[in-house]
């Protein structure tokens, strides 16, 4: 009997060993080596030719990509009905894509989108396969090339500082693979015009992050690619900042039973992720991110917190554009863009968030008399079961608006012409040109209004040991001091209970003290009398 059991156990152990041995480090599970395909030998004159070669086998790929938000830059919000996406929103960084196309669309997952009036080029070969599937780290898109990489020597350089050499397209094509952190990061880390500028929780430090910065993406941690959580199906990528799943109630993602999206902590960690019940009691009301991302911009790359466009245009004594840096070496003024404030290791702001983002679009009236004007806003509160307390980067600044029509304005910043702000430093002409191009009604009268934009924070998850202590929020002046509408132990109290309570305690103390005093005094007197 014992022998049979022993053999059974041995069998189980052997099976476990053989299963874990299925993953061999350094060995690609791919069934194809793209280096062996003659069609990828090149040479290629244009990246478009590479795409044609890809589509020769991956015949549905372009069709799939062209249905996604990465291609369309358009998102119809299922709840608000608002038409969002880069093609439509105004943000508090460079403003609007309209009239600045070849610069902004350098991050489009395609080639040659030069006019926002039109959807992206329809031909299949205009899709950029390489920006997402390059594994060599040598592919890059020109900063103002409407999505194209450099085909010849160029003065421009990759944001990360690589020299401006033309891309060896055949080399890149023979070395394609799954999207890694650097692929997604080539656009998402540089949003807003530079490394780490926009999001605060996405910057180049996440390409090879230490464990302390991101426990999931670090090679010393789980070494995840972005796509490990942002799962995809037919090139459609899970996870959205417009329609966020602010509270995942499905828990661990079991194929066939859930939404096949791992873009939430609960997808892997479940709904009872902690070892202690009291911590688990928090997950219905507090987003994981609130405690497990103690600060953002922790990787040594600063993020922009304030951008005042109103000061842009001031030139130096020599009539040349100015570049001024602060004591920490961060940009504080550019004649092209105005005044900035950068910050690192930023403590987030916390709000109730139900996941539904509404934007102030360019045809919506703003209340300029009561700044700041919210570029985006969201709902959610303590009584809203779908909402949780989320961390945010709060981006502030001042932006141009129409003082008569009371709308935010499309600003023509980039272009080799006599109206673009960055080349002519003339606000009146830049706004007239931008609004005219975008068919936006414009009175011709402009001013600057303070704006605020909210960016949910969800990356840069620290190891559990670095999560916030309870006292970070459960304190009189803790991180949630400003968040009203609910009772938070350690922060809140009842004024009358405090007054009456401490009053009673003091009264009993005083009475005892007085009683004791009289006892000592009368006893002494009795002693003397006796």
């Amino acid at each position: 009997m014992g022998i049979v059991l022993g053999l059974l156990l041995l069998g189980l152990v052997a099976r476990a060993v053989s299963v874990s041995a299925a993953v061999v480090e350094g060995e690609s599970p791919s069934t194809a080596d793209h280096g062996e395909f003659e069609v990828l030998d090149g040479p290629f004159d244009s990246a478009i030719d590479v795409t044609r070669a890809c589509l020769g086998c991956h015949s549905k790929a372009a069709d799939q990509v062209q249905r996604t938000i990465h291609w369309r830059w358009e998102f119809r919000h299922p709840e608000t009905g608002q038409r969002l996406g880069k093609r439509h929103v105004i943000n508090s960084f460079c403003g609007s894509v309209w009239s600045n196309e070849p610069r902004c669309t350098s991050c489009h997952v395609g080639y040659g989108w030069t006019d926002m009036h039109e959807p992206p080029p329809q031909a299949d070969d205009q899709v950029d396969c390489l920006v997402c599937h390059d594994t060599t780290g040598t592919y890059w898109k020109l900063p103002a090339g409407a999505g194209h990489p450099p085909y010849a020597e160029t003065r421009s350089s990759k944001s990360s500082g690589a020299p401006g050499a033309p891309v060896d397209l055949a080399h890149v094509a023979r070395n394609v693979g799954l999207s890694g952190r650097a692929n997604c990061g080539s656009c998402h880390f540089y949003g807003g015009g530079g490394d780490g500028v926009k999001h605060g929780d996405l910057d180049s430090s996440l390409v090879e992050p230490p464990r302390s910065l991101d426990v999931h993406m670090s090679a010393q941690g789980a070494d995840f690619r972005c796509a490990e959580c942002h799962t995809s199906w037919g090139h459609r990528v899970a996870g959205s900042r417009y329609a966020t799943n602010a509270r995942d109630t499905r828990g661990i993602d079991i194929p066939g039973r859930t939404d096949d999206s791992r873009a939430s902590c609960e997808s892997c960690h479940g709904l009872q992720p902690h070892g202690t019940a009291k911590l688990n009691d928090h997950v219905d009301r507090v987003a994981c991110q609130s405690c497990h991302i103690p600060e953002f911009a922790r990787g040594g790359v600063a993020t922009k917190m304030w951008w005042d466009w109103s000061t842009a245009g001031r030139l130096g004594d020599d009539d040349q554009p100015l570049t001024i840096r602060d004591a920490a070496g961060h940009l504080s003024y550019l004649s092209t863009k105005g005044s900035f404030r950068y910050a690192e290791d930023v403590v987030p702001a916390y709000f109730w968030f139900d996941g539904t983002m509404r934007y102030t679009l360019r045809d919506e009236p703003i209340d300029a008399d009561h700044p700041p004007v919210a570029i985006n806003r969201f709902s959610g509160g303590p009584d809203d079961a779908d909402a949780r307390i989320w961390p945010f980067k709060v981006m502030r600044g001042r932006q141009p608006y129409d003082t008569v029509n009371r709308t935010l304005l499309v600003n023509h910043v980039y272009g080799d012409d006599d109206t673009a702000l960055w080349t002519n430093f003339d606000w009146a002409r830049a706004l007239a040109a931008g609004t005219a191009f975008a068919d936006q009604p414009y009175s011709g009268e402009y001013g600057f209004v303070e704006t605020v934009m909210y960016w949910p924070i969800t990356h840069m998850v620290a190891p559990a040991s670095a999560a916030l202590d309870c006292g970070a929020c459960h304190a009189r002046d803790g991180r949630l001091a400003a968040l009203g509408g609910f009772y938070l132990p350690g922060r809140d109290r009842g004024a009358w209970v405090e007054r009456l309570g401490w009053g009673l305690v003091l009264l009993v103390l005083a009475a005892s003290g007085a009683h004791a005093g009289v006892r000592v005094w009368t006893r002494g007197r009795r002693g003397r009398q006796a």
Binding site: H474, F486, P489, G490, D492, L500, G501, L504
Partner: protein, 209 residues
């Protein structure tokens, strides 16, 4: 000289472990309440919960003990000599009068004590327990019929009860010094034995504590 056993071993164990737990609960509780920072909120909350469960366990034993020994009768209120005892604390203790109550094993508490401990056991403590358990199981309210309750209300009731408990502890400790000497009331609560002279009926004031 005889020595009378006033407080049995169980009673002393119960009294002192309850004292330690209540002091610990007050200390950690007021930190959880945000009155000061000493251990950190998380540690304070964990210890507070732990001490609360220990006290619950102790109380289960004590209630069982009261029931089987009939000692619960020690807390039945009486008006007999109640006025005299109150008068003693207000006047007599200063003029050197003897304490109007004599402690025996059948009546360990003077009428004022009986009344105080009864209020403590039937009003303050249940208030602490009810509000505390509700507070602890806040996350289960929705599924257990307490959905209409506000956490703020429960927390305020719990805090108010804690203030009453703190006031009792202060008064209790002070009154424990009002025996013949500073510590004469404390001694039987430690050793269990009352000094023999007064058990014999000597005229020295019986210790009221």
């Amino acid at each position: 000289m005889t020595r009378a056993m006033i407080y049995t071993r169980f009673e002393r164990f119960w009294h002192w472990s309850q004292a330690v737990l209540i002091l610990g609960l007050l200390f950690t509780g007021f930190e959880v309440h945000g009155s000061y920072g000493a251990l950190g909120f998380g540690t304070a909350a964990r210890l507070h919960t732990l001490a609360a469960w220990l006290l619950v366990a102790l109380w289960v034993f004590v209630i069982f003990w009261f029931a089987v020994t009939g000692e619960w009768r020690q807390f039945l209120p009486t008006t007999d000599r109640l006025g005299a005892v109150i008068r003693y604390y207000l006047v007599g203790t200063f003029t050197g009068e003897p304490h109007p109550f004599r402690r025996t094993t059948r009546a360990k508490h003077n009428p004022l004590q009986r009344l105080t401990y009864l209020v403590l056991k039937l009003a303050i403590t249940p208030l602490v327990w009810a509000s505390g358990l509700l507070y602890l199981f806040y996350n289960r309210w929705a599924h257990t019929g307490f959905a209409g309750l506000e956490l703020g209300t429960v927390a305020l009731v719990h805090t108010a009860a804690a203030f009453l408990m703190l006031a009792f502890v202060i008064a209790h400790v002070y009154m424990a010094t009002m025996g013949r000497t500073m510590f004469s009331l404390l001694r039987p609560m430690i050793t269990g034995y009352e000094d023999g002279e007064r058990a014999d009926g000597a005229s020295a004031p019986a210790d009221p504590e």
